[in-house]
Symmetry: C2
Subunit: 200 residues, 2 copies
DNA sequence: CGTATTTTGGATCATGTGATCTAAAACACC
DNA sequence: GGTGTTTTAGATCACATGATCCAAAATACG
């Protein structure tokens, strides 16, 4: 019916994610995006709309390939406590393994672009809440089975883990030191009576 | 010897802080800065140098009037445990009391501008370490006196509080809900055997 | 008062920005 | 093979950006 697209959508979105992740939204120009996506400005605009729409698509692409799968994978672990510890371990290893100090695109975006962008903020909040809910589910089921000792309210425990994770992701961007990131995670786990993280 | 300056340095730096805090570094133009500082571009440039240098000055101004005094004030509290709880309480109230969801300029900057700016990164890290050290001093002296129960290593406890604070400041910018911020703080305090925060 | 020195105001420069336009190219369908 | 529809490619638009220049203004000092 019409001329087919030459580019691979996954590949070009990967490239867009990389730029936004490394440099942030404001600091990335549309020309730079088009170059790294190996397509022209017009094609990019035609396929994805304006810069904001492309950012949204890139963010969704990032989350599709990253967050949701990770939660599902860890939730299938041997126990809720292992799911929590494994999720934190993976977050730390990802943070330390990235030489570019990129942190987490979700957290970076929540700080840079969400505050003055209600649509994006709602979207990001929904994703962040996914993480909070994951922690809460783990806490609830773990305590119900007796594997996690009772203590502070379930909600507070989940929020503690959630904010610890965010803190770790912030530190990953500015001070990516293993002792620091692991110390925060160890502190949260131990103080909730959870087993330590698996070795890296 | 020469023509005196017409502007009040404190006032213009306050204005610069406000713009950078509300919008971030990249999203704030030099013209907008000059307008809000009530001076001309040339005067601004003459007095503070380029945009990056002005940002650095604004950041220092913000920290001078905010962070260091707060730490000193809380450290003079009745007990180390009260110092920790009071510091978290004040951070939460500041976060919730700001209708603009600005969060903390230090944390925002650590994510947006520090990663590709070694000088600024070192400066920000030194300031962040000031907070971490404050928590560590409180834990150490509180445990030595018996007011804070022994448990996980001092360093890990300090890192847990530190990353919880960062997480709270991130959430303040995207999801400023009292239950959420207080829940994270309550979780951290209770799980370390610390007394709860004072009422707002 | 005169002069040296700094700040101030306004204009301006070169460049980068997001976005769009036009025409050529490429394919699916009839 | 023709036709219609979409994607490409390159040029370009209007504007914003960071930074600078130059002359006028304002003061402290001699």
């Amino acid at each position: 019916m019409a001329r087919p697209r030459k580019f691979d959508e996954t590949a070009v979105l990967d490239a867009a994610v990389d730029r936004f992740w490394t440099q942030g939204y404001e600091a990335t120009s549309t020309r730079e995006l088009a170059d790294s996506m190996r397509m022209t400005l017009a094609s990019m605009h035609n396929a994805f709309g304006d810069k904001r729409a492309l950012f949204r698509r890139a963010l969704e692409h990032y989350l599709d390939g990253s967050l949701r799968a990770r939660i599902a994978r860890h939730e299938a672990a041997a126990s809720p406590a292992a799911a929590i510890a494994g999720f934190l371990r993976e977050s730390i290893e990802r943070s330390l393994g990235d030489g570019c100090r990129r942190g987490c695109l979700l957290v970076n975006s929540a700080l840079e672009v969400a505050p003055d962008n209600p649509d994006l903020r709602d979207f990001l909040n929904a994703e962040l809440t996914t993480i909070e809910d994951f922690f809460r589910r783990c806490i609830v089921t773990g305590r119900r089975s007796g594997a996690i000792p009772a203590g502070i309210p379930d909600d507070d425990a989940a929020r503690l883990l959630f904010s610890t994770l965010l803190g770790i992701r912030v530190l990953a961007r500015i001070r990516p030191e293993r002792d620091l990131l692991e110390g925060a995670a160890r502190g949260a786990l131990a103080s909730l009576g959870l087993p330590p993280m698996p070795d890296p």
